[in-house]
Amino acid sequence: MTGPVALRAAYIVTWAILLGYLGSLLRRFRRVREEMKDLKRSS
């Protein structure tokens, strides 16, 4: 692995982890909000 390739790989991995984690948080938010709505509707 050459230097520039390693640099690109490291930057891609960093952003993939951060954006992937942010995406998972937003999905979990959506799921919890839907659950809240269902609970309010059923009560």
Binding site: G3, P4, A6, A10, I17, L25, M36
Partner: protein, 229 residues
């Protein structure tokens, strides 16, 4: 409060753009390592942010054991998860840097091993929180967090206490340590930007944890009402 948080997110995005530009295009190329040295501008700030998250986790766990306050427990859960995300970045970008510079992906030296142990401790903390049954999960998790934090100063000091393959401290490492001022400038902007990203993620995760607990409490109340009828 919501407006303030949105303003903070905008500031964080601007900081990230500026610090990435500084790290990739403005900071001078290191003479011996070349372009690959620029991984340093992501690797070290990620390690710093992971350390900050684990410190918040430690403080929140102490407060939880003392006051049994659900907000402290939520903050502990949030900070541990975000810390693990940043620690994962450290453990992946480190070997990517090491391969062209050392010729190997990994070696069991003190810094690398203690960092891997740190990651395993906080992954086990998250697994405990997710799968433990019974009413004592939060207390057990807080106790694990307090003991687990002992590894953070060991990771930091490992390159001072032991002779390691990992580079010796760049800053605060004695007479021969230090950075070129242009590199230092890029480094500090990246450090600030990554710290802000860590704060944004921790606040989001904290809010999610509080919402999840609210839903759980509502479910429990509904089940009790159903049982009483």
């Amino acid at each position: 409060m919501k407006t303030l948080f949105i303003a903070f997110i905008v500031l964080t995005i601007a900081l990230l753009a500026y610090s990435t530009y500084q790290g990739l295009f403005v900071a001078p190329t290191e003479q011996t390592m070349g372009e690959v040295q620029r991984i340093f501008y992501y690797h070290v700030p990620s390690a710093w942010t992971a350390g900050v998250c684990f410190f918040v986790n430690f403080l929140a766990s102490v407060v939880y054991l003392w006051k049994r306050n659900p907000a402290s427990d939520a903050l502990a859960a949030a900070s541990a998860e975000v810390g693990v995300a940043f620690c994962t970045i450290v453990l992946i970008t480190g070997p990517i840097w090491a391969r062209p510079v050392w010729g190997i992906w990994w070696t069991w030296d003190a810094r690398l091993t203690t960092t891997l142990v740190l990651w395993l401790i906080y992954v086990s903390y998250l697994v405990l929180r997710r799968f433990a049954a019974g009413g004592q999960t939060q207390v057990l998790a807080a106790a694990l967090a307090i003991f687990g934090f002992v590894d953070v100063p060991i990771v930091y000091m490992s390159i001072r206490w032991f002779r390691t393959q990992h580079p010796s401290p760049v800053m605060g490492g004695g007479e021969n340590s230090g950075l070129d001022p242009a590199m230092l400038h890029a480094f500090f902007w990246n450090l600030l930007a990554f710290t802000c990203v860590g704060i944004v993620l921790m606040v989001l995760r904290y809010r999610l944890q509080m919402l999840e607990e609210k839903v759980e409490a509502t479910h429990a109340a509904a089940a009790l009402q159903g049982g009483a009828r």
